[in-house]
């Protein structure tokens, strides 16, 4: 168990292609796979490796993130010693910089008794054993270890991400960008292992030279000066950086092998519980190949879809190839195909919404404006 490690989750992630899904929330707290949020995976990976001290570098508009993570109880991170810290941008200028945020919260690093660091983002969804990565790092004697995944460029979902050129000794000798020209590339998963001392040195160097505002950019720009090793992760990785990749990764959960790997019994994925009742399937329902959360009332047809908590699908409604966020209501006779409904959306009777299977139609999150609307939704 990694008792000498602390985790840093940097949420300075590229949200530009996620459109309305990130209108009211950061990427890290986008709902995914019915009952989870994107950040659950990295947090669970860290605690499953025995890490009990985690700092989250949170972006602005973090209400939904803080609501979800809370005191860290679902991950057992509500500790007297160590535990969870959330570092918010507040009065600092709004330029997103994890280096600056770390500098202004240096106390977190200095006070912690842990000597090693795992530095990761949230948007790479996987179930990784960080114990193996740490072992590799410690044995290699490198300054920094970065985790990568070899991918083939058949699908377009790892575009524009950093790629690693690696020699036979697993040294990273160059860092580029995936523009889709090569058939196989080594995609960096933005997960690093290094000593705390080295991290502090990086932060101070960045601030002194003023040429990098992001930790990962500093590492990638200085591969010539840093002893950077690469660790290959062979398991499933889902990358959330656009609407289409979000749609694809969600649908991957209908593949039972991927489902079993990601939600392994050995390393469970934890999340905030919502105390939803069981899901009720009515006599009129027809459900196939779908991933369904608790608290739903299903009387219509559901096929190849991911359904979040508390969704109501009325009789004669059809939901196909779609992702429905929590508390949506799909009324009788409505037809949905290739659609993402954000939270609380109500689809009227007999309405038809059809998106493209690679470019789904996204309905923005609804906030309740008046009480009568709320009442209408509560009682079905």
């Amino acid at each position: 168990m990694l008792t000498n490690y602390l985790g840093i989750v940097s949420l300075t992630e590229n949200e530009s292609k996620l459109k309305s899904l990130t209108a009211t929330r950061p990427l890290a707290s986008i709902p995914i796979f019915g009952r989870y949020r994107v950040i659950d995976f990295v947090l669970s990976n860290l605690v499953n490796a025995g890490i009990t001290n985690v700092g989250i570098l949170a972006p602005t508009k973090s209400r939904s993130l803080i609501d979800h993570v809370g005191t860290g109880k679902p991950w057992d991170l509500n500790r007297k010693v160590d535990g969870l810290y959330i570092f918010n941008y507040s009065y600092e200028p709004p330029s997103i910089s994890d280096i600056k945020l770390l500098k202004s919260n240096m106390e977190f690093l200095l006070r912690s008794r842990k000597e090693m660091v795992i530095f990761a983002s949230s948007y790479m969804i996987c179930n990784i054993d960080f114990k193996d990565v740490a072992k590799f790092h410690e044995e290699s004697g490198a300054d920094v270890t970065v985790v990568y995944k070899k991918i083939t460029n058949e699908d377009e979902h790892f575009f524009e991400l950093p790629t690693l050129m690696i020699d036979q000794n697993l040294n990273v000798i160059g860092v580029g960008k995936n523009i889709g020209r090569r058939t196989t590339v080594n995609i960096s998963l933005d997960m690093f292992v290094l000593s705390k001392e080295f991290l502090i040195d990086c932060i101070l160097t960045c601030l002194e030279n003023g040429n990098c505002i992001m930790f990962r950019d500093f590492i990638y720009k200085n591969v010539q000066n840093i002893n950077l090793k690469a660790y290959e992760f062979k398991g499933y990785v889902g990358c959330i950086n656009s609407i289409s990749s979000y749609f694809k990764v969600s649908m991957d959960m209908l593949n039972v092998d991927i489902q079993r790997e990601l939600f392994s019994e050995e390393r469970p994925i934890y999340t905030k519980s919502n105390d939803s009742p069981p899901t009720r399937y009515f006599s009129t329902c027809e459900v196939e190949n779908s991933f369904i959360s608790n608290g739903c009332l299903i009387a219509g047809k559901v096929k190849n879809s991911i359904i979040s908590r508390g969704v109501v699908i009325e009789k004669d409604a059809i939901v196909e190839n779609s992702i429905i966020f929590s508390k949506c209501i799909i009324k009788s006779g409505a037809i949905l195909k290739n659609v993402i409904l954000d939270k609380n959306v109500v689809i009227d009777e007999n309405a038809t919404l059809i998106g493209h299977n690679k470019n789904p139609l996204v309905m923005e999150k609804q906030s309740f404006i008046n009480l009568s609307q709320l009442k209408e939704v509560k009682r079905v």
């Binding site: 009952r35 519980s273 069981p278 899901t279 009515f282 459900v287 991933f291 359904i307």
Partner: protein
Amino acid sequence: MNGPKREIIAMILAGGQGSRLKDLTKTNAKPAVEFGGKYRIIDFTLSNCTNSSIDVVGVLTQYQPFTLHCHIGIGTAWDLDRTKGGVYILPPHTNDSGGNWYKGTADSIYQNMNFVELFSPEYLLVLSGDHIYTMDYQEMFKFHKEKKADVTIACIEVPIQEASRFGIMNTKEDGRIYEFEEKPKHPKNNLASMGIYIFNWDKLKRYLKEDAKDEESAHDFGKNIIPKMLKGGEKLFAYRFKGYWKDVGTVESYWEANMDLLNEECKLDEPSCILDLYNEETKVYTSSIAYPPQYIAPCAKVKKSMVVEGCSIWGEVYNSVLSYNVYVGQNAKVISSVLLSSASIEDGAIVENAIVCSGARVTKGCKVIGKPGKIAVVSENKKVTSDIIISE
């Protein structure tokens, strides 16, 4: 240690074995038996306390308490992990005059009088940990105060042919009880006690002390305390409850209560017909487990059923209640059954009118078939390798 004063506190009787539930309570107290997919029976009473703003709850345990203690923990799931107050588990204990098991429901309260006194309450709410219902105790409490009663007993109308299973109350027009008959052979009406009492604590204390000295007494509320209070001329009132309530005392009634959750003919103006698990105001809480959502495979058929997280369904499920992490294999059929957590129904197996306890396996092609009135039960962690068919 002195808790801050409370007007009313609750005591939940959760020590009984529930022997008529047979295999379901072999290793488990009845209040800790799984129910309705993701719950345990005591969740309903604990959630009612929380939803009724009652924040001091003593739970009296005795029979096989391990699962029950683990489940309740420090009460986090019900928001009962409080700095002052919250949930207290009260097992039998020794004291300077020796030790005693709880001899009856009244005796268990008598032995914990010191606990109750810590909060110096004026009223005591006594509840059973083994009933399925959602109820706002504050409404009943309001009634108790309005009537200036010494005791209020919640009651519900039951079918007259079943009335002899219950404590039956004969009341005047204003609700005052003039006669209480415990399990009468020839009931005079169908107003049954739900085992929910509000007592004026000072009065109850007196009767508990007297009853403790009575060697003939079974130290039971229904059998001894209530009749003695009636005899003593105290003011007993019946509070009529209109919602769904079920005493899951037997394997059959446990199975029925699960099936009741699936009733689709129910009308909303008939509140006693179905338990509404989907109402936010009467939400039922439980300690949850981290499982992924349920997966319904391409070849699966699920109808008129309740399913929980972690289930993986490849076969057919009709009219059934499935708990956490249940597996139903290809071409398997589950009909009118209750499957408890981590039960596994393998490919081609058939389960009908049955209860499959947690961790049990019905192996490939095996049949477990009971019938209404004679439900087949597969006990915990059992591996079924040959057909179990109840024909008579």
